[in-house]
Symmetry: C2
Amino acid sequence: MTKTSRQPGRTTRERILTTALALFNQQGEPHVSSTAIAAELEISPGNLYYHFPNKEAIVNALYDAFATEMGTLLDAMEQTRSGPEEIWLFLHLMFEAIWKYRFLYYDISTLMSGYAHIERHFPVLLRRKQHTAYVLCDTLTAAGLMQADANELTALARNIALVGTFWISFQRAVHPHDEADIALGVAQVMQLVAPLLQPEARRYLQSLATQYTSVPNHAVTKGE
Amino acid sequence: MTKTSRQPGRTTRERILTTALALFNQQGEPHVSSTAIAAELEISPGNLYYHFPNKEAIVNALYDAFATEMGTLLDAMEQTRSGPEEIWLFLHLMFEAIWKYRFLYYDISTLMSGYAHIERHFPVLLRRKQHTAYVLCDTLTAAGLMQADANELTALARNIALVGTFWISFQRAVHPHDEADIALGVAQVMQLVAPLLQPEARRYLQSLATQYTSVPNHAVTKGE
């Protein structure tokens, strides 16, 4: 991890964020102090505080970077008139972004009650995810690939947002000591959509899901 | 709240548990100390410590009471060969039990990392919930009411356990300052099952879900 944080040309600010993200993802945000981040970087706490006045400022900066990545993806998803294959790709990209900043998903309530910035902005992002899920499924319905009424679409979109958001927490609750495999999370969300698809689209999605989850040590986690 | 904790004939131990549960549900377990529980009961901390050596012992006792209630329900669910109506009733009863001990569901990871007893036992309960969901859906399939293969049933059972477990966290993340309505949680789980049911059973479940969520201030929360 220290290797990536010492690439030449990267600013101290960037190195602090990269190292903090890696430590938060490894140990959980509550267990990592500013001092531990400075120690990992081999810089003085004073140097760290010059860039970020406290740990909250680091957490907020990481949250903003995450929200920007998700926002770009959600925009792209809504603008593309997608079929099942594009939706699979987008799901994969969203889970990649969630995985990269996964410490945000270990315990969202605790994080929200500790950081006013996240408490204010996370619910907005969550409602946007739900809205995008609705738009995508509505597109599938209009294209004749899915069969569902407005109530079913609303419930489906809510379940997609819920499973997407809490899949990492669920895996950690079932297997407290294992690393979660994001391919299984993508497949879990696919399985919410599949039963409402028309037979051909449903078979296609099932075959994608099977291929997707049968690749061991999935490439998605590379570069972590 | 103090009214219920002062009913005549109840032991101090029971009153401590009732009051702790109410405070944990209101404020979240991390924000409630043993001293605050003693103060609410108007007993000395020494009297409280005579019954429970620390807050962990209180949390563990409440977890065990919850696990016993859930265990009884899961046993009953597996032993009854259920149709959609019975499943709806069981879902309702499970959400009632979760609601009664909802502080356990505010932030499961944090609770598991703080309490070894819960870290050891919660994953077992979660796997059991998933197993029971599988058995129930398998029964519906065998009765010709549901159409799904073994992979789809496994994914469905996992999503039922996930949505059932994290629905309260999801509601709190979307609406941080509102009390969650458990009827919506039951309806959300129903919507996972509905698309795999045969048309008649699906229409029946949808009408149940609509009736269920249209009752304002649902009776379930009475007596809290």
